[in-house]
């Protein structure tokens, strides 16, 4: 594949179950060299070759940016997903050879901040693992509020408490513990930046409260975990390359385009970076837009689609690809 980022040939050096849903994977370079340095919040796109099918999923790097002997990611098993996480959990073993992209950071720290206030929900903790490691090494000022369903599903909660003690506050859904968000957001020193990563509803809530309480938009940073969703199969005509393709239930439109030998640019594969934006030439049916890139107006117009996460239901769709 010629587009996207530069690739790294890696070998899985360790697979560590973290809890009943989450497993951690360690990668080293096959040639034994160091991996590229990265910044806290960066992700890599992991290529999963599963028989005939290739999936490319982004995962946040969660190790310390100071240690480039290995990259680590944590994958939450999603039994209703498209199968990428199940592939990682079931098929990837120590010694498996894989390909990952160079790191890309779409959720970087604002290094001007006097304080970094972090809000994590569930598996949204992973980018903060790297960011807190980076900040702690530089003597940076941060505070992490982490909500998980239960203590046993609090991925890395113990480790974070051990590393950073009072700078980490945990909230458990099963004990009805809730972040007192308005109070938290109202009591921060000037120059604080806010970072939020977790389920969509949480991100929306935090952004809405921050705006209502007068936080300038440029101090509020968020990363959506918009994994492509499965859906009904559909057919697409690629006008420029003169091909008609079928997108199956477990495939994203972008993956189906790539499988046909057409390589649109991409970076995040999660509907936020804008790289794979594609013009619609004609359609007869309904779009299922799942991205965070296009405006509502774009969504309504039916003129554009983000093939990494969005789908289509209807009789015909012709794309400018």
């Amino acid at each position: 594949m010629s587009t996207g980022t530069t690739k790294l040939d890696v070998i899985v050096s360790d697979v560590v179950p973290v809890n009943e849903l989450v497993t951690r994977f360690h990668f080293r370079r096959r040639d034994g060299e160091l991996l590229p340095t990265f910044s806290g919040g960066a992700h890599v796109v992991v290529e999963m070759r599963d028989g005939e099918r290739t999936r490319l999923n982004p995962y946040s790097l969660m190790g310390s940016p100071l240690d480039t002997r290995e990259y680590t990611i944590s994958v939450r098993r999603d039994d209703a997903g498209r199968g990428g996480s199940l592939f990682m959990h079931r098929q990837v073993r120590p010694g498996t050879e894989m390909v990952v992209s160079y790191p890309v950071n779409l959720f970087s720290l604002d290094l001007r901040a006097r304080k970094h206030l972090m809000l994590a929900g569930g598996i949204g903790i992973t980018p903060f693992m790297a960011q807190t490691a980076q900040l702690a090494a530089e003597g940076g000022n941060f505070e992490l509020h982490y909500t998980c369903r239960t203590a046993s599903l609090g991925t890395y909660a113990d480790l974070l408490k051990e590393r950073y003690d009072r700078r980490v506050r945990l909230y458990h859904d099963d004990r009805d513990e809730r972040v007192d968000l308005d109070r938290l957001l109202s009591s921060q020193p000037l120059g604080t930046h806010l970072y939020v990563c977790g389920p969509s509803g949480m991100i929306g809530w935090v952004r809405e409260r921050a705006a209502a309480l007068g936080w300038p938009p440029e101090t509020v940073h968020f990363e959506h975990f918009a994994a492509p969703q499965p859906g009904a199969p559909f057919d697409v005509t690629l006008a420029l390359s003169d091909k008609t393709i079928s997108v199956d239930e477990q495939q994203s439109l972008l993956e189906a385009i790539e499988a046909a030998g057409v390589d649109p640019p991409y970076l995040c594969r999660g509907g936020v970076c804008g790289q794979c934006e594609t013009n619609v030439i004609s359609h007869d049916g309904k779009f299922i837009h799942n991205d965070h890139w296009l405006s509502e107006e774009d969504h309504r117009s039916g003129c554009k689609i983000m093939p990494c996460v969005s789908r289509f239901e209807g009789r015909s769709l012709v794309l400018e690809r």
């Binding site: 980022t5 910044s39 790191p103 290094l111 001007r112 970076c273």
Partner: protein, 346 residues
């Protein structure tokens, strides 16, 4: 075989010259007989042997003299080098990039030895041998950006990336074509490009910003830009306009070949790994008309480009005072025959 560094000046007696090899490798910026802005960005990959693209960070015969000129500029005006407080990490990123690239490409001149965060840097042309701790500013005589850019040809701007924009938050700028870091520091991409004519209307900056904010680690990009300078002066800054501005009134038909220089900037763009900032090296190449016209194709093409340049661009590039004299001089070297496509000499 190492580079033979020239002893020369970019001020006062202006002894700067290009050797015959350096004339041939000059990055002539016109691929056709006319010029208009375009988003002429391409991947910054290694180019042909013997070209300025043979190495991604180019060191040439002017290295030592340029570093001496930079030291003179900084002694008179320390504000040519500035780094806002949040940019120190990016400075370390840049130090690593430049040390690694220079040591890799020119092992006879530069050596980098790394043992964890204990580093030793040997720069033979400048007689430097320093051991320091990577990440610890107290172990270097200057901040990391200033330290390494006092030893690297070209200007360097470090652009912080946030809010979907790029911010000029650090830089070393002493060889600039009439712009000022001290004026632009802290500005965003649209603010510092505000004075450029025509390009805004063409939507060029919106597209360029979109491209730049997506530059990936391990995939640098580059473009060429150009202007003209009277006398081989590196420091044509607004701060020193009183020193070089009047030179433009000194061009006569007799001295065009010696005084008028084509000034080409090889601009590259690199994602820095720890800071997620972009570094923007602006490497300046100068060539006097007498040297340039030794390639007949370049002489013909430059004549046509300067003759047909839109008035706004000629004004922006500061050519107005001597444009007619230059075009007249070049016209004698243009027999009207066709030029081959591409940048290189025939």
């Amino acid at each position: 075989m190492g580079i033979t560094f020239r002893k020369e000046t970019f001020r006062d007696d202006f002894t700067f010259r290009n050797s015959p090899e350096h004339i041939r490798r000059f990055p002539f910026p016109f691929h056709e007989d006319s010029y208009m802005y375009a988003v002429n960005i391409e991947p910054h990959v290694v180019g042909p042997k013997g070209s300025v693209l043979q190495n991604l960070i180019d060191v040439d015969e002017h290295y030592v003299a340029e570093m001496q000129d930079r030291a003179l500029v900084l002694a008179e005006d320390p504000l040519r080098c500035q780094s806002l407080p949040h940019m120190t990490l990016a400075g370390w990123d840049l130090l690593e990039l430049l040390m690694e690239q220079q040591a890799l490409a020119y092992p006879e001149h530069f050596t980098l030895a790394r043992d964890g965060d204990r580093w030793r840097w040997i720069n033979r042309p400048l007689g430097i041998d320093d051991s320091f701790t990577f990440g610890d500013v107290s172990t270097l005589p200057y901040g990391p950006m200033e330290y390494i850019t006092r030893q690297s040809q070209g200007d360097f701007c470090i652009l912080d990336q946030r809010d979907g924009n790029l911010w000029m938050d650090a830089g070393m700028v002493t060889t600039q074509a009439d712009w000022s870091l001290d004026f632009d520091i802290g500005m965003n991409f649209f603010e510092w490009h505000a004075p450029v004519p025509l390009a805004h209307e063409k939507g060029i900056f919106v597209r360029a910003l979109k491209f730049l904010t997506n530059i990936q680690q391990g995939k640098p990009a580059r473009r060429l830009n150009w202007t003209m300078t009277i006398n081989p002066r590196l420091d044509t800054s607004p701060e020193n306009y009183h020193k070089w501005g009047p030179d433009r009134a000194t061009v006569t038909p007799e001295n065009v070949g010696d005084k008028v220089h084509l000034r080409v900037e090889l601009q590259s763009f690199w994602r820095l790994p720890r800071s997620n900032a972009i570094v923007f090296p602006i490497r300046c190449y100068l060539i006097k008309m007498d040297e340039l016209v030794m390639q007949p194709k370049w002489a013909r093409r430059l004549h046509r480009v300067i003759r047909d340049l839109p008035e706004e661009l000629a004004t922006y590039k500061g050519l107005t005072r001597y444009r007619a004299t230059l075009v007249e001089w070049l016209s004698k070297l243009d027999d009207g025959s066709a030029t081959s496509p591409g940048f290189g000499p025939d």
